[in-house]
Amino acid sequence: MGFFSRKRVAQPARPVQVYTPVTDGARQIPAALRHGSALQRHHGGPPGRGMWVVYEARTGILTALEHGDIATVMLVDEHGCNMLEVHAPAEKLRQAYFEEIPEKRRPDEAVARGMGYIGRPA
């Protein structure tokens, strides 16, 4: 009768992931780009990073403006979660109406009005 042994083969260690996101700290779109943009708030103020906008009937968040007044917008779903990042001429955007902000992320109405988020016109 023969004997056999089963050696446990050492498994290779799973590599550890180290992620180092880079923060540059810049908190706002440059003033010259904001004040010269075709995109304005309903109450006439300049746009800003994080502003809720509408592009081709879809709600999104303005994240950047570049020379040439090209906007970067993150379109969101009905929950306010990221769907698709697009680049579009700022003239094709408008500030969102209060009701167009996804309900889960909709702020207090008085706060919103102060930032130009008016109600949808009748």
């Binding site: 992620y19 908190r27 800003g48 994080g50 950047a64 992320r105 706060v111 930032m115």
Partner: protein
């Protein structure tokens, strides 16, 4: 990456600048929902990471370093999260947010490229920084 100071954070900054209300130490947290920070956000907008050895980080006001430059900026030492495995709620980290430690009010937030902790020892290394611009 683009840092966003929401309206609530702007008001806090103005009040501290004009000696209307004292600032507070901060708490640095990772969020685990796939969202882009907006100017109308509050701390409740963000779902904080949980499990997998995660814990928020305390940031002390006295530890920030301030540099007068163009633009002026404030910097904090690198913060390290070392995970023991997967997160227990949403499995992927999408960014970080900073709140006042006592009031819980959102000061700023920033999304970054998503990262999914998987293995014991996986790390996120983040160096907090904010500019006056």
């Amino acid at each position: 990456m683009t840092l966003l100071v929401p309206q609530a954070g702007e008001v806090i900054a103005l009040k501290a600048f004009l000696n209307n209300a004292a600032g507070q130490d901060q708490t640095l947290k990772l969020f685990a929902t796939n969202i882009t920070p907006s100017e109308t956000d509050t701390a409740a907008t963000y779902t904080e990471a949980a499990g997998g050895g995660y814990a928020s980080k305390a940031l002390a006001g006295v530890t920030w370093t301030f540099t007068a430059a163009a633009p002026s900026h404030a910097d904090y030492a690198q913060q390290t999260w070392t995970f023991t495995g997967v997160l227990t709620t949403n499995g992927t980290v999408f960014g970080y947010f900073v709140v006042q430690t006592t009031s819980g009010t959102l000061l700023w937030a920033e999304a970054f490229a998503s990262f999914t902790p998987t293995n014991n020892g996986d790390q996120i290394l983040l160096t907090p920084k904010i500019t006056a611009d």
